[in-house]
């Protein structure tokens, strides 16, 4: 029984290694190829209004997080398609891969962590009660190459 398990584990290890070396896969990879599909293409961003981070302007959203996302899209050479909506419907769309990013002054305490990927905090602020809040963004669940690229970009902005 134990020997059987050992050889199975070995097979998986060798298989995984062969896959990595053979196909030149980079780690981490996206199960749904989000990073590759967004690069040089379209970045669909959900915006839930929450000034001063996100506000609805005359023609396009504005706010500090909107500016951040614009800069991020530039690094990917991607056009942004803004989708305005309520937080819950945006998160559901994100969970199902219909959006690539959701912003709206989300904080590290967000309950959406159960459904989608929440970035590391990129900045700190104080809410109306004077409590310290860590600002985050929401990404599709399990798209780890894309998540890592987004977090690298946010941390490089040095806003903390």
């Amino acid at each position: 029984m134990r020997r059987w398990i050992v050889s199975l584990l070995q097979a998986i290890c060798i298989g995984a290694l062969a896959l990595t070396v053979g196909c030149g896969v980079s780690i981490p990879a996206d199960p749904d190829d989000t990073l590759a599909r967004v690069t040089g293409s379209k970045l669909r961003v959900g915006v839930s209004p929450n000034p001063p981070w996100t506000e609805l302007g005359e023609s396009a959203p504005r706010g500090t997080e909107v500016d951040l996302v614009k800069a991020f899209a530039q690094t990917l050479d991607a056009q942004i398609e803004w989708v305005v909506g309520g937080e819950e419907s945006l998160i559901t769309a994100l969970e199902h891969g219909e959006l690539h990013l959701v912003i709206g002054g989300l904080t590290a305490d967000t309950p959406w962590v159960e459904k989608v990927a929440i970035t590391k905090p990129y900045a700190e602020t104080r809410d109306s009660r004077g409590e310290r809040q860590k600002l985050v963004m929401a990404a599709p669940p399990g798209e780890n190459a894309y998540l890592l690229a987004l977090e690298r970009f946010l941390l490089a902005q040095d806003l903390r």
Partner: protein
């Protein structure tokens, strides 16, 4: 150095030294596990396999704690209220540890299975360490490599001690430690799977780890319940009937006043509780002196024999007679 006694059984020098080593190694195990639980807890992230491995490390604390608590309690002397002494505390501790493992294993199987069923894609992002940003998965794999190896060595040492001491909690603990590298490897495979974009590999690895936890729990429960139910005494690994049974029966049968003899032996934790039935030759009643001499000699056969009675009978009880080799 004072003598160590389990109830009224004073440990022979060799076993006393073994016990001291076992206690030291269980403290080392606890120290290691506290470090491992902290380390793995810090990098846990969203990997279900890592969660299962972390839970297993946490639960691995139960057998060493059970051992350390039980080895204190069983030293208490017999009293009128506790006429059989406190030996059974080992079995009770063993059972508690087994139930905890089985319950956690079951919970994790359900949790991991649900994750697989609903196709949860685990998200693992970045970590910032020493000024550079990299994927947290690498840190998880590192933590599992570090924490996966030492238990194997601890397990090997404790296995030997468990045999010398005839201690089934120590045996179960050593057995679990020896297999711990599979848990570490399992979670490494799970995290590597996430890294490669194979989200399901994490849940599969978690299921594998959960099943090993459940199987450890069931094994421990069975062994503990066996002894608490007064099953025939076995060797420390439950592999075969304890050779001491045959030894006692052989000795009694060799006495010239004994026609037939059989023993009923139950494992009290370390020491054994023995009822010997003897059929005297020609039905002649043995004197108290003859019986006492036989008792003292029988107790000398093994350090675990102390609580031993010899009952002259006209005919061996069925279950004893059936088991005796003739």
């Amino acid at each position: 150095m004072t003598d160590i006694a389990f109830g009224r059984t004073t440990l022979p020098a060799h076993q006393a030294a073994t016990l001291r080593r076992a206690i030291r190694f269980e403290w080392i195990t606890i120290g290691f596990l506290v470090v491992a639980v902290t380390l793995v807890g810090l990098v846990l992230g969203n990997s279900q396999a890592m969660k299962a491995a972390w839970a297993e490390d946490l639960l691995s604390l139960a057998p060493p704690i059970a051992f350390l608590v039980a080895t204190r309690i069983i030293r208490r002397p017999h009293t009128p209220k506790w006429p059989y002494g406190y030996h059974r505390s080992t079995g009770v501790a063993h059972l508690v540890a087994g139930v905890a493992l089985a319950a956690m294993g079951t919970f994790l199987i359900i949790d991991s299975g649900a994750g697989l069923f609903t196709a949860d894609h685990p998200s693992i992002g970045s970590v910032e360490l020493f000024g550079s940003v990299f994927w947290l998965g690498w840190l998880m794999i590192g933590a599992m490599v570090i924490t996966g190896v030492p238990p194997v060595f601890l397990g090997r040492v404790k296995m030997k001690l468990a045999e010398d001491l005839h201690d089934k909690v120590l045996y179960a603990d050593a057995d679990m430690n020896k297999a711990d590298w599979m848990t570490a490897l399992g979670s490494i495979i799970g995290v590597t799977g996430i890294g490669l974009g194979l989200w399901w590999l994490d849940a599969v690895a978690a299921l594998f780890i959960s099943f090993t936890i459940l199987s450890d729990g069931v094994k421990n429960m069975r062994s503990a319940i066996r002894d608490l139910m007064d099953a025939r005494a076995t060797t420390f690994d439950n592999a075969r009937p304890d050779p001491v049974i045959a030894k006692v029966e052989e000795y009694l049968t060799s006495l010239d006043w004994v026609a037939e003899a059989g023993a009923r032996i139950r494992d009290q934790g370390h020491v054994l509780h023995v009822e010997c039935f003897v059929v005297p030759v020609d039905g002649r009643e043995p004197s108290v002196e003859v019986l006492t001499r036989a008792r003292i000699a029988a107790v000398e056969l093994d350090w675990r024999l102390q609580d031993l009675v010899i009952v002259p009978v006209a005919e061996l009880p069925e279950e004893v007679a059936a088991a005796s080799p003739r």
